[in-house]
Symmetry: C2
Subunit: 510 residues, 2 copies
């Protein structure tokens, strides 16, 4: 009973939060998020009461896409897929769940965010956390040693969702990967070229692509005196530099992870460095780093990478940044991350002013030469490099752009509505629309026996249908159809044969 009272208290408090936000005219997303919390609390109460209180919502951290959002999503996917195909990629698909053990030990500290399926007898399963591990499993299982593939699908993370910042528990990833034993940095450079092309084409505003190399990080850690067994955990702390200040990061290293203050300060010097090919050259001369073999091979590769990036004409956006770490365990070489830098469209609008510094990452990836070998019974390695676009954030930005634009987003492609001017013409409408469908024309009729002409015309206005084919008693007598242009209200009679030609002509122009 005391638990019940607690929940009732929480409902009261949460109700006030919602009322306050509404009175303050907060954003729809913010209100929706708090309403969702309220509904969840009420659901708990309903469950405890034993009476059925139906909760009409999607699971926490997930959302439906309405037709308008789908129209935008289709546009984004078309751009992304066109780029992947331009670069010669094939595509594959894998199941939404994997054997639990397939995912075990691949994600480091993030493994706790994996969704497991209930044990209903049979195998233990988990929802995929990314598309990279299933890809590696696919390569090992089918003994594929080289492929260039893309994969667009949803992945699942039990993370703290923040709808207003475009962070969900179910979200799309668009991945492009190159597997195979090739000469250094050529596939890696193509991945960065792809990031550059897609972010430019989507016109999301200015962006930067940060690059670094796991070997440089590890070499740097060694050079700064980090004990071997602390490399991974210190690496995840460095990874937080995009969200936390250096002071907080240092604090975590020293006080939580037990690193010496001296080592932390040395790391601090390195992670503030940014540059291009020149920085790689300079660090190759650095007395500490040049002693370390790993660091040197990483730095030479970054230097080589930049020479290819110049040929690909993308160095304007790429920065060698020693603070970039990336959390996942499986990276072995080059790593990169693309961030939007234009506050106008990203930081301010999406996050609210208070954290406009943390402008979201929209793509990331790197080289993972050991992952496939973890799946191969004989440990045979297949070197891989790839990039993943976090497309939800991109959708959110595109939606905002669509909202602020004057053009209405159409959610269907209907070219013509077959309408009637008088009663009792349903049969004639159905016959005509059948002819149009047969000719491949996108056409509709209203599902009423006797719809009013006005309501048929209104439907065209609302859905952006450009043409109306009107049947009336006179037209039937004359063997013609009246074609009306919705925008200009112009009307011309056509024979049935000419009608199809005319609709094609008018809609291919549009």
């Amino acid at each position: 009973v005391s638990q019940k009272i607690q929940i009732q208290e929480a409902i009261k408090t949460q109700g006030e939060v919602v009322r306050k936000l509404k009175s303050e005219k907060a954003s729809k997303e913010q209100i929706d998020e708090e309403v969702a919390k309220l509904l969840e609390l009420k659901a708990k109460l309903g469950g405890d009461d034993g009476k059925h209180q139906f909760v009409l919502k999607t699971a926490k951290g997930t959302r439906d896409y309405n037709p308008k959002q789908m129209a935008i999503r289709e546009k984004v996917f078309n751009t992304v897929v066109a780029c992947f195909k331009r670069h010669g990629a094939e595509t594959i698909d894998t199941p939404v769940f994997e054997l639990k053990e397939t995912l075990t030990g691949k994600y480091g500290e993030d493994s706790k965010l994996i969704y497991d399926l209930k044990d209903q007898g049979g195998e233990l399963l988990s929802l995929r956390y990314d598309l990279t591990v299933p890809f590696a499993r696919y390569l090992a299982m089918n003994k594929i040693t080289n492929i260039k593939r893309y994969h667009i699908a949803k992945v699942y993370r039990r993370d703290n969702p923040s709808m207003t910042r475009g962070r969900y528990r179910e979200f799309y990833q668009c991945d492009f990967d190159i597997a195979g034993q090739y000469d250094a940095m050529i596939p890696d450079a193509e991945c960065l070229k792809i990031v550059h092309e897609i972010l430019s084409e989507l016109e999301l505003g200015d962006f930067r692509i940060k690059v670094n190399d796991r070997r440089i990080l590890d070499g740097m850690f060694a050079a700064c005196g980090v004990p071997d067994d602390k490399f991974r955990t210190i690496c995840s702390t460095v990874d937080k530099l995009d969200k936390m200040s250096w002071e907080d990061v240092k604090n975590e290293m020293v006080n939580e992870k037990g690193l010496s203050e001296q080592a932390a300060d040395l790391i601090g010097e390195f992670v503030s460095m940014q540059g291009g090919r020149d920085l790689a050259e300079r660090l190759l001369q650095n007395p500490r780093l040049s002693q370390n073999k790993l660091a040197c091979s990483g730095l030479s590769d970054v230097k080589l990478l930049f020479s290819y990036l110049e040929l690909f004409q993308v160095t304007d956006k790429v920065v060698f940044d020693l603070s970039l770490a990336r959390g996942l365990d499986y990276y072995t070489g080059l790593i990169y991350e693309a961030v939007l830098t234009q506050a106008g469209l990203s930081g301010d609008t999406l996050n609210g002013a208070e954290d406009s510094v943390s402008v979201g990452s929209v793509a990331g990836g790197g080289r993972y030469d050991g992952l496939v070998g973890m799946f191969d019974p004989k440990g045979r390695k297949v070197p891989c490099v790839g990039v993943s676009f976090g497309i939800e954030r991109i959708f959110t930005i595109m939606e905002q752009k669509a909202e602020s634009s004057a053009d209405k987003v159409r959610t269907t492609e209907v070219q013509v509505l077959v309408a009637s001017a008088q009663k009792n013409l349903l049969e004639e409408r159905l016959k005509l629309v059948t002819d149009l469908w047969k000719a491949g024309i996108k056409a509709e009729v209203m599902y009423k026996k006797n719809p009013k002409l006005l309501s048929q015309l209104q439907h065209c206005e609302e859905s952006g249908i450009p043409l109306v084919a009107i049947l009336g008693e006179q037209e039937l007598k004359d063997g013609v159809v009246k074609l009306r242009v919705v925008a200009t209200r112009e009307e011309v009679d056509f024979s049935r044969a000419d009608l199809i030609r005319e609709i094609r002509r008018r809609t291919s122009e549009a």
Copy 2:
């Protein structure tokens, strides 16, 4: 320990099954299925032993799609989506999991096949079982009273998988639904028109669309003396008539479900009836059925439906069949199911001779006027009718057709490979491919510093790339690029400006 011995015995037996199939040169699918069972058994043993025995497989009843299968899948989806768009549908998407209670009570006896997620704190979730219930939840949640939408996505059922028959635990559904209060049978007829168009366009061989009506079934049950509380369960038994003989169905009704033999025999008479509009008219005169209000309104609607189907020119494939029941609880009116009737491509080849009678259903649907109301807090109803394509079976057939066809399925769309004739030309290749990408041409380079010309040409042969742009020392000196047509080995030099025009010209022809 005894359990361990049991598993070891099972592994031995299963190993023999696999060896036998291999020696008999059974189909790859059949062998794969049995190997999967063997691996599962071995995994169990590994788990019990405590030592890590890695199982390289996808979850039971699921599969990866390789690039060739994806190319075919893309073709099928394009046909399906083009038809949905031609009929003016919008599209939506919903999360892969729903609150568990959203799915509860919607699927009758099949509810046991729902996948649940593990309770990791928070809401209880289940994977979606179809796209219809999430659609109804979406309508109620957003208070939408009319929409015509399609949704293509994967659904999940813990059914007994049979890969050889194209039955999976994760599979695609392609749904088209019309929601709204409209005049009788007009949207219903359009759904059948869509089935007719898609199955015709995919050229899967001959097909039939069976139609019936839940009201006719219920009226028939009442007229035959089935007690009210047995309607649903008798209905699921009738639904098995496509897989079981009438004798077995009758046996289940009488001995398992406690129906009187007399009632069962009366049902037997009705469910053997097939026809068209004429059958509906005849049954409206039937002394038993004509007494029943429900049956009469169902029969009148079927009659009306056939008049619209005539206008849509699809009556050649539609059969009014009183044995059609369909299992799901939520149907309230018209129901239908499309089956392929050409044994050559479906029954025999897919199922093996022993069950070539059960030619698979490839689409099904019906009217569900009560489902949205189950979600609406005030019970407001939104009448709906829709159809769902079971696309995996269609893929399987298309794959077989592709296998037996002479044309090679291409898995990329690359138009040109940028190749080099001598060493040390990587930089030049990267520059040229950058120009081509900029011009929107689909182009590749090999990721080697000094690939042999022969291996570059071989790559074109294997991937079906039609053109090669060859750079050599002479070409660079002359400021040209040699364009080679892979099929004819014809080679012509072009200036860089002309090269792009020439590639476009040659690949738009193809």
